[in-house]
Amino acid sequence: MNLKNDHYTVFKASKHKKCDFIFLSILLATCVTLTGCGSSETNVVAGNKSGTLYWGNGTEPQSLDPQIATGVPEHHVISAVMEGLVLKDRKTLEPRPGVAKTWDISNDGRVYTFYLRENAKWSNGDAHTAHDYVWSWWRALQTTLGNQYAYMLFPIKNAKRYYDGETSDFSDVGVKAIDNRTLQVTLTNPTPYFLQLLDHYSLFPVHQATIEKFGRADERGTRWSYEGNLVGNGPYKLEEWKINRHITVTKNPYYWDEANVSINSIVFKPVDNAVTEERMFRAGALHVTSSIPADKIAIYQEKSAPELKITPYLGTYFYRLNINTPQLQDKRVRRALGMAIDRKQLVDNITKGGQIPAYTMTPPGTMGYFPESTLNFDPEAAKRLLAEAGYPNGEGFPPIEILYNTNEGHRKIAVALQEMWKNYLNIDIKLLNQEWKVYLATESAGDYQISRGGWIGDYVDPNNFLDMFLCNGGNNRTGWCNEEYDRLILEVAPSQSSHEQRLKIFQQAETILLEDMPIIPVYTYTSIKLLHPSVRNFDDNILNQAMYKDLYLDANL
């Protein structure tokens, strides 16, 4: 899913208070500290007693409709109020039973039969049946809904054909409710990661009666997912949604595993300024933050604070190159740009969070996949390539523009990159920042030259990182198209019988991608957050997903 990352807000300048922003931020810090030291107890202390978890969620979710949302903050809320057939183990990410109690997989790995729980219910008490999945996945594949994650369903037989309009009969698609408690799914190819997909929100079930009450099934932005309306099947139900203030979820009494849900309610706070969020954490207003300012990391490390959690994160920070830009059409130029980045300097001195320099799109170690890279840091070779492409010592190279979404962290990286390319290649780079939604629109429209990107794994498989760059893929956005690459990803890799063989095909595809370089990998993410010690069972996994129903709060801390 798209990662906006820790973004910092700007002081709001009203017409008459332009010079107040410095004082405002100081005031804010004081207020937060005061609430922390005041006579009333902090959120964290009170929450530990009452069983309320205060969660720094980064930003305001765009939508809680699982078939429309695409981002990480949305995911945090949706996975509290909804649940898929299968859950993941909080440590190993192995599949574990969710709504489905058990399941069978046919010998050829193509037919999955799920047996749903007798006591599965919606949060309004309605019976939750296999038919809900058939209807939800039908909805997810409606082109009029504009589901950007529709391709997550494409492993299902005929799902892609139905989505592309090649068949209009949904009964062709390989999903069938045999009875109320039995769901049969037929896949085109044995897809080793299919069970993981079921824990992704694009395949979550949605409540048909609620959606139809508030609009058409394929209508975007209806009120069905708002406060008071939303009906889900997760461990929590949506209690309150105050825009830009908080989202509160409370225990769902109809949840099948209700007895094992320990925390009574979770309050998601949309604090999109990392500096403010860190102060709130210090003042005891939050149990968990979504990020931490890069320059604060060293301070926490020095006093080896147990709150600081830096863990591997399955995600890649990269730059998209729009290959329709005249000076970027030559792949030697693109390679030269990729080779003239000193990634080690970047991660050591700018991001400072233990990130790993990335030379491939897929993070190394994904399902035992350790891709080899043809990319390295070699300014001399980069200079030669640029000269071969007709720009000796950068002469005659038209200035090029880097687009990034307004955020302190992204700005720092872009500024460092600007200087590296100036230094090593002698080319002029301009920077352009835009607000998150504008930036996404600009990028999707292909109206940029170089643009920063970040991709966080939805499931643990190299496929998740490589199928973004298929010709005309929804998340490709570079204009790059390579038929051999498409063939490897779409046809050759899925039909391999052994895992090792699949990985070899992915390696071939990755090599094509890196040779052509429509994207420049920069670093592999680490998840960096502050976590209060009273939160237990918050285990680290590379998708940075918490299993809410396993969490509990230790009131002794």
Partner: protein, 289 residues
């Protein structure tokens, strides 16, 4: 007739200078401003380092012999960055304020002097512009004309004149029925001449004070726009931007906030002292020594 007015007005300025030179604080402000402006003009010649050359390994260091004001997180010399930032900030401050001043004074003076229907129409236009969200206005300008520093200066000026117009209008309303204006009227002076020779000099006091307040607020406005990607872009910088970035790390690297803050405050004080002095000096109602 004309020549006597010339004499009068030239003596106004002469008087003003005499009064101003007796005001130590104002002279101090003037001196500081002159130093800042001259430094800004000479920056490309005297800056100790390049404002864009990075040294990531060095990173943020506190003030030292090599770097008098320390370095930022990219290892760039802060003194150099503040000097270059001053060029942008002072330029935006003066140009945008000048634009606001010219439009605001003329608009307010005309509206206030003629009153009645002219006043109503002109001030309703001001009200309408006030209601127009400032950001949308600037973004529209940027979309139509592209990103350009000079345009940014004018855009800010084109927004800032509204308050100026109101101040001048209220002053003029108070002045226009006074005896000396009626006297000028009865002497047959054209209305334009009356505005120019009598009304505007009498409104200078509040205008100058407001101007000295406008300059720093314009500088911060520029930082805000630049932060949104509408103003100047890295590696260039301005005081407002430096302060804005400094706030983010004020606990770890306080010098990144303190020094640009000092530069901006110094300018602000200097402008205020000078403005105060000028107001006293230019007040035609004040007794002549």
């Amino acid at each position: 007739m004309n020549s006597s007015i010339e004499e009068n007005s030239s003596s106004l300025w002469k008087d003003a200078w005499i009064k101003l030179s007796k005001n130590r604080l104002a002279l101090f402000g003037l001196a500081i401003l002159c130093i800042l402006i001259i430094t800004s003009l000479l920056t490309p010649l005297i800056a100790p380092y390049s404002y864009e050359a990075q040294n990531l390994e060095l990173g943020a260091t506190s003030p030292s012999i090599q770097h008098w004001l320390g370095t930022d997180i990219f290892g760039r010399d802060m003194l150099t960055r503040i000097m270059y930032g001053g060029r942008v900030s002072l330029m935006v401050g003066f140009i945008a304020t000048a634009v606001a001043l010219v439009i605001g004074i003329l608009w307010g003076a005309v509206a206030g002097f003629f009153g009645g229907r002219v006043d109503a129409v002109m001030m309703r236009i001001v009200d309408m512009l006030y209601a127009l969200p400032f950001m949308i206005f600037i973004i529209l300008l940027m979309v139509v004309f592209g990103r350009n520093i000079l345009l940014l200066f004018f855009a800010i000026g084109a927004v800032e004149w509204l308050t100026m117009a109101r101040i001048v209008r209220s002053q003029v309303m108070a002045l226009r029925n006074q005896e000396f204006v009626e006297a000028a009227n009865s002497l047959g002076l054209s209305q334009w001449t009356i505005i120019r020779r009598h009304i505007i000099p009498n409104t200078l006091g509040p205008v100058i004070v407001y101007t000295t307040l406008t300059i720093p607020s314009v500088m911060l406005l520029e930082a805000f726009l630049s932060f949104l990607g509408l103003g100047i872009q890295p590696p260039q910088s301005s005081w407002g931007l430096l302060i804005n970035y400094g706030v983010e790390t004020m606990e770890e690297f306080p010098w990144l906030l303190i020094f640009p803050g000092i530069a901006l405050s110094l300018t602000l004080f200097a402008l205020n002292f000078l403005g105060d002095g000028l107001r006293d000096a230019l007040d035609p109602r004040a007794s002549k020594d």
